[in-house]
């Protein structure tokens, strides 16, 4: 692909006309909660846009995030956004390896200085000088510090990059931290999820390419349009929650009839993500629709937040032994206080005539 080719020309070459681009822009503006009048503007901007340089660094991760973004079920414009960006460095996808790959990275950073988007998947280990994850002899911490310094913005893709994820889970042996813990002075967008919803990344990229800025973010730096509501709010099982109809096990009649999975530990009420609206695998379903409760994978520290199968209404109880000790202490203390009081108020002996 020619670096000067516009997105409109690329889409035309792929068989998508102006109508297709407009439909995509309408879908994107809708999913980004923008006014409908913005759609033609976005379509025109996208048609004129030139390739955006993206440098993608994979740190302490499992490659699941990259897999999910690459496994789009059909060649939609949404997936072609990924084709349209100039992915100048991505270790898993690039043919180059070793010193050639390192040279590619140096060239990409130099060529796009101040203009490239830096995408990160995976958390960053900082313990012991960051030795637990190295690339080409450099620690992830060192790479992030130098490459983020010249980026226009940083995209933390997946829960590991956004919040530390599973590597940060107790006891966190590598001292894993999130991207936002290390990057200062640059806009950071968190796109959490284990893995994240691909359409969220394409929406953020489409917005950035169209308007040259990042979409509105929430207090955890997540795109507000996609993370503004909870799974629970958008869940098709929600009416059953309101009716008090809960599945008691994963294969009972209630579960089959679509009753709410709250009692089985669903974390939908506390999880912000777009799974229930955008869904997965080309809009086929999402975990709750497939019969399992939400595990809250797009929230910080989800791995350490108790069992996936403990209801949100549940609590960590002190245990019968501790309760017995507390009761004993109370009884002894109360008895001591009562006896002391009795002594003070003891009636005087009756006088005998």
């Amino acid at each position: 692909m020619d670096d000067n080719e516009t997105m409109g020309a690329m889409l035309a070459r792929r068989g998508f006309g102006r109508r297709g681009l407009l439909k995509f822009a309408i879908a994107m503006t809708s999913s980004l909660a923008l006014p409908p009048s913005v759609a033609p503007v976005m379509a025109a901007s996208l048609a004129r846009a030139r390739r955006q340089s993206v440098i993608w660094l994979s740190f302490q991760e499992c490659t699941g995030c990259l897999e999910t973004l690459l496994r789009s079920p059909s060649p939609t414009i949404s997936s072609l956004i990924f084709d349209f960006i100039s992915l100048d460095y991505q270790e898993t996808l690039m043919a180059a390896a070793g010193s050639a790959a390192e040279q590619t990275l140096r060239e990409a950073v130099a060529a796009g200085k101040g203009e490239y988007l830096l995408a990160i998947d995976g958390s960053i280990p900082v313990r012991d000088g960051g030795v637990y994850s190295m690339t080409g002899g450099r620690s992830n911490v060192s790479m992030l510090e130098t490459i983020a310094a010249d980026a226009k913005a940083v995209l933390a893709i997946g829960t590991c990059a956004a919040f530390g994820g599973i590597p940060k889970a107790y006891p966190n042996p590598t001292g894993a931290v999130a991207v936002e813990d290390l990057v200062a002075g640059k806009p950071v967008v968190n796109i959490p999820g284990c893995p994240p919803v691909p359409e969220v990344l394409s929406g953020v990229l489409a917005y950035f390419i169209s308007f040259g800025a990042l979409p509105a973010l929430d207090d955890r730096r997540r795109p507000l349009a996609y993370f503004g509501t909870t799974i629970h709010d958008q869940c098709y099982r929600r009416p059953f929650y309101d009716q008090g109809k809960f599945a008691k096990s994963f294969d009972d009649d209630g579960a089959r009839q679509g009753w709410c999975l709250f009692e089985l530990g669903c974390k939908g009420p506390t999880t912000h993500n777009a799974c229930a609206s955008l869904k997965w695998n080309g809009g086929t379903s999402f975990p709750v629709e497939s019969g399992h409760g939400c595990i809250g994978c797009s929230e910080p520290d989800f791995w350490d937040a108790g069992s996936f199968y403990t209801p949100l209404a549940g609590a960590t109880l002190p245990g019968w032994r501790n309760a017995a000790i507390a009761a004993s202490v109370g009884l002894v203390g109360g008895a001591a206080a009562a006896l002391s009081g009795r002594r003070k108020t003891a009636p005087k002996p009756e006088k005998t005539p």
């Binding site: 909870t230 629970h232 709010d233 929650y241 309101d242 009716q243 008090g244 809960f246 709250f262 009692e263 009420p269 506390t270 912000h272 910080p300 520290d301 937040a305 108790g306 209801p311 949100l312 209404a313 549940g314 609590a315 960590t316 109880l317 002190p318 501790n322 309760a323 507390a326 009761a327 004993s328 202490v329 109370g330 009884l331 002894v332 203390g333 109360g334 008895a335 206080a337 009562a338 006896l339 009795r342 108020t345 003891a346």
Partner: protein, 219 residues
């Protein structure tokens, strides 16, 4: 550790232990109270005395004819409050889950709409009772810090529960945290103030009824 994790974890554990210890303290104090020796011969035997105790437990639900007019407002408001609270506590699905986790007992929950309606009635009756307490000259004179504090620690869980059900202000996690923390405040205060009547009311009425029956008084 998030606020919700603290609320569901260590805060819950500490509050339950304080409540259990406090109940032990109060029970020991009550059981070791100095009692006057009963010098008179009992008017009734064991069975009649037990019947007297049971009778006192039930009869106190209905106010005496003599006082009915003067206490009608308080009685109705209190009944609405207690019934509403019972519906919320024992009918709300999340509450049943917690009870099941502690005791293993479970039963079907009520639809959310009914629970929210009961919460609204409970809240309204509590506000009305507070207004009455603050405006009625005698009640106001008799009220202590315990009365107002006990009212507050019951009001907060009901109020945060309504906010949680509608998810009107803040996110679910924040509201759930506030709701659980407010319940924990109630648990901590329960043994040390007038809320202890929730545990002692029937035992107290029963003991009084037994004493009355022993003396041959009506229960």
């Amino acid at each position: 550790m998030t606020m919700l994790e603290i609320a569901r974890g260590p805060a819950m554990q500490v509050s339950i232990l304080i409540m259990v210890g406090g109940i032990g303290w109060r029970l020991a104090g009550i059981l070791l109270l100095r009692r006057r020796p009963q010098r008179a011969a009992p008017r009734h035997g064991f069975v009649r005395r037990i019947c007297g105790g049971l009778s006192a437990i039930l009869s106190r639900f209905i106010p005496r004819r003599t006082f009915r007019r003067g206490t009608a407002v308080s009685v109705v408001l209190s009944a609405v409050f207690h019934l509403g609270l019972a519906v919320v506590l024992f009918g709300g699905a999340p509450h049943i889950l917690l009870i099941r986790q502690i005791t293993g007992l479970t039963w079907p929950g009520l639809p959310k709409g009914i629970v929210v309606m009961a919460s609204g009635l409970t809240l309204a009756s509590m506000i009305a009772l507070l207004v009455r307490r603050m405006t009625h000259p005698v009640l106001r004179l008799l009220s202590t810090v315990d009365d107002y504090l006990s009212w507050l620690v019951v009001f907060l869980p009901v109020f945060t529960g309504i906010l949680l059900s509608g998810e009107t202000i803040g996110g679910y996690a924040t509201l759930l945290s506030l709701h659980i923390l407010s319940v924990e405040l109630l648990l901590v205060w329960l043994p040390f103030g007038k809320l202890m009547h929730g545990l002692l009311v029937f035992a107290g009425r029963g003991a009084m009824g037994v004493t009355f029956a022993r003396k041959g008084a009506a229960t």
